[in-house]
């Protein structure tokens, strides 16, 4: 892909948390690009570092407790080199963030209007009246039926879906180039999920924004994403277009994930279960394929000592060489390598 349109370039970013005086990588050596008009989905199970990546881009980590290396090149500025004041020029203005839990992400004591216009207070010179009009416009845009009324309400008076819409309205208020949506639909029921995703897609088209959609829900990814990055234990293990990742998954983890998803043709079978857990930060192996312990039947020789990304098709990359030899236990023998 041509790098010219990549306005966000994440280069070799690692974030380490301090636990008992020692630093442990929560995400290591992440490389990602985002273009305008695209939705990049980051998938992976809980604890794989998806949210850490999001908060790293937003600079929301306490510098005393974390060590971040690498480069987050946003339209030519390395965000990681900015101080708090410099970062605040980007947060809310050029990068909007949508959080996971709409129930707690809004200040319970402030009216919706105040919470949306707050972001404009810091990034625009609009008059009070213009701000009010913009709030109403935004609430309309995210599909709230009675924006005048909602603007005067407090968060506890709104349903979960409406609160998530308000949070989206806050994130897009200043028309950011990048929207990071961290599990925006996890706390919502399925019908609302679909509506929220529609809202996100519409906004992306309107503003030509790039969206990073973080989720563990493969259904959401299949519906919305243009490109997909699969994360496991703090690393990206596979990345490519949505078609590539869904139709020709290569990495054992991606294949396991897809196989553990209910589908029409396997509805009578037991679902595939990936045995084991994501290792905790302290127990993360320093070397070798981090997914290897969860596919014990694959011989050790199949893995690389220091797994790197391999391009299997244009724009489609897979970590470690083990994908070439990987088979599920029940397939073994039926296919020859």
């Amino acid at each position: 892909m041509e790098t010219a349109s990549n306005f966000l370039n994440i280069k070799d970013v690692s974030t380490a948390f301090k636990i008992n005086g020692q630093y442990y990588d929560a995400i290591s050596h992440i490389n990602l690009q985002v273009q305008h008009d695209e939705i990049l989905a980051i998938v992976g199970e809980s604890g794989c570092g998806k949210s850490t990546l999001a908060t790293t881009i937003m600079g929301l980590h306490d510098p005393a407790e974390t060590k971040i290396s690498g480069e987050v090149d946003f339209e030519g500025t390395d965000l990681l080199k900015l101080d708090e004041k410099g970062y605040n020029q980007f947060r809310g203005a050029k990068i909007g963030m949508i959080f996971q839990d709409p129930l707690s992400a809004l200040n319970p004591l402030k009216r919706i209007e105040e919470q949306i216009s707050e972001v404009m207070d810091y990034h625009t010179d609009l008059s009070a009246e213009d701000k009010h009009n913009r709030v109403i416009e935004l609430l309309n845009q995210v599909g709230i039926v009675n924006p005048q009324r909602t603007a005067r309400q407090f968060p506890h008076e709104l349903s979960g879906g409406m609160r998530q819409r308000v949070i989206i309205a806050i994130a897009i208020a200043c028309k950011p180039d990048l929207i990071i949506a961290d599990e925006p639909t996890t706390a919502l029921d399925v019908t609302i999920q679909a509506q929220i995703l529609d809202v996100l897609r519409d906004i992306q088209k309107e503003n030509h924004a790039g969206i990073i959609l973080i989720t563990h829900d493969l259904g959401v990814v299949a519906e919305t994403a243009d490109r997909v990055a699969v994360m496991y234990a703090g690393q990206i293990v596979e990345q490519g277009t949505a078609e590539q990742v869904f139709n020709t998954p290569e990495h054992p983890y991606t294949r396991s994930l897809l196989r553990s998803m209910p589908q029409r043709d396997n509805e009578n079978d037991d679902l595939y279960v990936i045995k084991g857990n994501v290792p905790s930060l302290q127990k993360m192996p320093a070397k070798g394929d981090r997914f290897a312990p969860r596919i014990p039947w694959v011989p050790a020789e199949a893995h690389e000592e220091n797994p790197t990304m391999h391009e299997v098709a244009p724009g489609h990359e897979v970590r470690c060489t083990c994908y070439k030899h990987f088979q599920f236990p029940d397939e073994q023998g039926s296919v020859t390598v």
């Binding site: 970062y87 947060r91 200040n107 919470q115 972001v119």
Partner: protein, 319 residues
């Protein structure tokens, strides 16, 4: 909101009735009587028996209670056996002193506690926070009356900065001098009360600030690009002060309870000192009246807390 307050107020009525019965019965259940030893140590038991009888102390409890309630509604709380004075006048002369001291203590408490709590929470783990925490732990460990006794010893006796008894000096004349003298007399008890009273508020506020600091809505505010200073001003302070505001009503209760210690140690002529004295003299009429007043003030304190909370927290307002 008015509905909430009205409903809350109506609940208070049965509470007051039950409280008054309990108070009356408990006072009656105390061993001893008001006359033995108060007239003449060698008084004839038959005479005491006679006094008990004409004062209605042998009547069944419900009859005594009913008489008491009827008189209560006429503004008559009976006569003190000890002081031979109407209870209303006895208490009326002291209530002002107690409220004056309580109000002063409360103002001082909040004036100290709010900045300390917010500062400690904001700079969690740093040196000033540690100092404030050590102060609260140490103060919390010492019983209140010990603080009072130590305080009175150091500042009243050794250094001689403050008066150690009474509410006003005997030679005070003119309103300015009177006011000054009154103020001078409550300064030390007020300061010591505040020193003790800050502990809960500081600890509570500190943990509220720390909680808010890590809350999701503060993260939202940060992702809006709001500078840290404004996040404290617009988001953390107000949200952390909520429980403290609600606490204000209850803290009146604490102050009144504390007044029993303070007034005894400082021989300060208020309701607390009167209460302690009347217990040792089995002065039933005074005890029941005071316990009832304290009880009602407690109920008002909780009512106030609920009202304050419903004003400051939109989630509490019931439609």
């Amino acid at each position: 909101m008015w509905k909430t307050i009205l409903r809350r107020f109506l609940i208070m009525i049965p509470e007051v009735i039950i409280l008054s019965i309990l108070v009356f019965l408990l006072a009656k259940a105390m061993p001893g009587d008001p006359f033995t030893g108060s007239i003449n140590p060698k008084a004839d038991p038959a005479q005491i028996h006679h006094l008990m009888k004409i004062n209605g102390l042998y009547d069944p409890w419900y009859q005594q209670y009913w008489n008491w309630v009827v008189h209560l509604f006429h503004g008559d709380l009976g006569n003190s056996y000890q002081y031979q004075e109407p209870v209303t006048r006895l208490i009326g002369g002291r209530a002002g002193n107690t409220l004056w001291l309580a109000l002063f203590t409360m103002i001082l408490t909040y004036a100290f506690a709010l900045p300390m709590g917010v500062y400690a929470g904001r700079h969690e783990g740093k040196l000033p926070d540690t100092i404030i925490r050590v102060y609260t732990y140490v103060t919390y460990c010492i019983p209140f009356f010990v603080i009072l006794v130590i305080g009175i010893w150091i500042f009243g006796y050794v250094l001689g900065w403050f008066p150690t008894t009474g509410s006003i000096s005997s030679d005070a004349s003119g309103w300015l001098h009177t006011f000054g003298s009154r103020f001078y007399h409550i300064l030390l008890p007020g300061l010591l009360g505040a020193l003790f009273g800050t502990v809960n508020i500081v600890q509570y506020l500190r943990s509220e600030v720390i909680d808010s600091k890590h809350s999701d809505y503060v993260r939202t505010a940060r992702s809006k690009g709001v500078p840290s200073k404004d996040i404290y001003r617009h988001h953390i302070f107000r949200n952390s002060l909520l429980p403290i505001a609600a606490f204000a009503g209850y803290s009146i209760t604490g102050l009144l309870n504390g007044s029993i210690f303070t007034e005894t140690v400082f021989s300060y002529p208020g309701m607390g000192l009167l209460f302690v004295n009347s217990i040792s003299f089995r002065d039933y009429t005074v005890i029941t009246a005071l316990v009832l007043i304290y009880g009602i003030l407690n109920l008002i304190g909780t009512l106030l807390s609920d009202i304050i909370l419903s004003i400051v927290d939109p989630r509490i307002r019931i439609q």
